[in-house]
């Protein structure tokens, strides 16, 4: 017990966030609770008179915890980029739902589809969808950029350089997009007759 308290005098021994720390005994002083003013570390060199803070027990002070501000993500550019990546995932969800609604409209027949087409063509909706597209692109590019960190590919015992992993992902993305667009154009025949305005 004695050594434990002495340990705490120079630096508390363990843990912290939990509640498992037994509350210190009120009279924890093993070496005489009071340090005489003249033995203060500062000697007489301008040491402030020691005012006991009633909220603290000597050697078991209340540790200070800084609360996390809601604006923590404004601390640096990388945090902001991260939050933007997370937020733009909403655009991904939106695009998926939009596609489902589009299919639903198709399923309900020509009038329903035409009404949906008309809605899509409204300038406000077009502007909004351009914004969604930008968000989607940001999300996709930043997401793919993370791939090298998550994938440690080894070929014959050697780690494949992250640049190669990165390029492969972007290439695969562009290639798939190109195939989808080409497939659509092919399926629709003359793009001039496409069912979109």
């Amino acid at each position: 017990m004695r050594s434990r308290e002495e340990g705490a005098a120079t630096g508390p021994d363990r843990a912290t966030t939990g509640s498992d720390r037994a509350p210190p005994p009120a009279e924890a002083g093993t070496r005489g609770g009071e340090i005489p003013q003249e033995l203060h570390a500062m000697g007489d060199r301008g040491a402030p008179p020691v005012q006991e803070n009633p909220r603290h027990t000597r050697y078991h002070p209340k540790w200070h915890r800084q609360p996390t501000p809601l604006t923590w993500w404004t601390r640096n550019r990388r945090y902001r980029a991260f939050i933007l990546r997370e937020l733009t995932s909403v655009a991904v969800l939106y695009a998926a739902v939009l596609l489902l609604i589009h299919l639903l409209a198709l399923d309900r027949g020509p009038e329903s589809h035409a009404a949906f087409q008309a809605w899509l063509a409204r300038p406000g909706v077009v502007a909004f969808h351009l914004f969604v597209l930008a968000a989607l692109l940001y999300h996709t590019v930043t997401w793919l950029n993370l791939a090298p960190q998550a994938i440690a590919l080894r070929i014959r015992g050697r780690r494949v350089p992250s640049r190669i992993v990165l390029l492969a992902h972007h290439f695969a993305w562009l290639a798939l997009s190109a195939i989808i667009v080409a497939g659509l154009l092919f399926a629709l025949g003359d793009p001039g007759e496409a069912p979109w305005p």
Binding site: P12, T16, P48, V50, H64, T68, R75, R78, I151, G157
Partner: protein, 250 residues
């Protein structure tokens, strides 16, 4: 000191719970020397201006991992951060974020010390071989698989950089997971299943949202964020495998 041509201002976080309930900043004007690190300036304050300033340091060469602080908002090793790069100042010095402050710039790191053994950072063998079986040899490739993760100096910069840890202190955290991977990826180790119990449960890897800042601040290029994401892949594969082979718990 005699060739000091200029001075630089330090704004230092002070917390003296015996005398003041709230922390405050104290300003020190120290001589500027071209070859000084932030730690040298703090040592100057302690030696010449105010001996009561409390902070940790030991090796002064980026090895011991004890001098981590928040300098101008970024978690850094103060013995490896040139004042020159922070001019003209003032330079703000805070304790590492995410850890309770005991005094001034000294945080309590006991939380990490309690978490570290939970990931069993040691080699676990299914069967111990007798000594006369000789060493367990590894090829350079096998060493290469985990070497990066063995470089960690437990400086806690990655915890300080992690907003998840700051808001969810039960998160096991970047360095602990990187160290678990250091053993998981070691060809001599058979303990991956035991570690999975801690790593892929609540407050394990899935608390991580891949902010990635831990890898940015790590002074040893451990890349804890990479370790965590790779472990997510491993845990997911393992889960699928356990679906296919229901007898085995994932």
């Amino acid at each position: 000191m005699e060739n000091a041509v200029d001075t630089v201002t330090l704004k230092v976080f002070r917390y003296r719970p015996e005398t003041a309930p709230e922390p405050e900043y104290e300003t020190f004007e120290v001589p500027y020397q071209e070859d000084w690190m932030v730690l040298d300036a703090l040592n100057h304050v302690k030696d010449e201006m105010d001996g009561s300033l409390s902070y940790r340091w030991s090796c002064r060469m980026g090895v011991c991992g004890s001098c981590g602080m928040t300098v101008n908002g970024e978690p850094v090793l103060t013995c490896a951060t040139y004042i020159e790069d922070l001019l003209p100042g003032p330079i703000r010095i805070d304790p590492l974020r995410g850890f309770p402050v005991i005094r001034d710039l000294v945080g309590d790191l006991g939380d990490f010390m309690a978490k570290l053994p939970r990931v069993k950072p040691w080699i676990i063998r299914k069967e111990e071989e007798p000594l006369d079986a000789g060493e367990t040899l590894q090829t350079p490739e096998e060493v290469g698989a985990f070497r990066q993760y063995s470089m960690c100096i437990n400086c806690m910069l990655c915890y300080a950089a992690c907003p998840i840890y700051e808001m969810e202190p039960d998160f096991i955290g970047p360095a602990a997971i990187a160290l678990a991977q250091r053993y998981n990826l070691d060809s001599r180790d058979h303990g991956a299943d035991e570690r999975m119990d801690v790593l892929s449960r609540k407050h394990g890897v899935w608390d991580c949202t891949f902010v990635g800042e831990c890898s940015v601040v790590c002074p040893k290029d451990v890349d804890p964020a990479g370790a965590i994401q790779r472990y997510k892949v491993t845990a997911t594969m393992d889960w699928f495998r356990s679906l296919l082979r229901p007898g085995r718990s994932g």
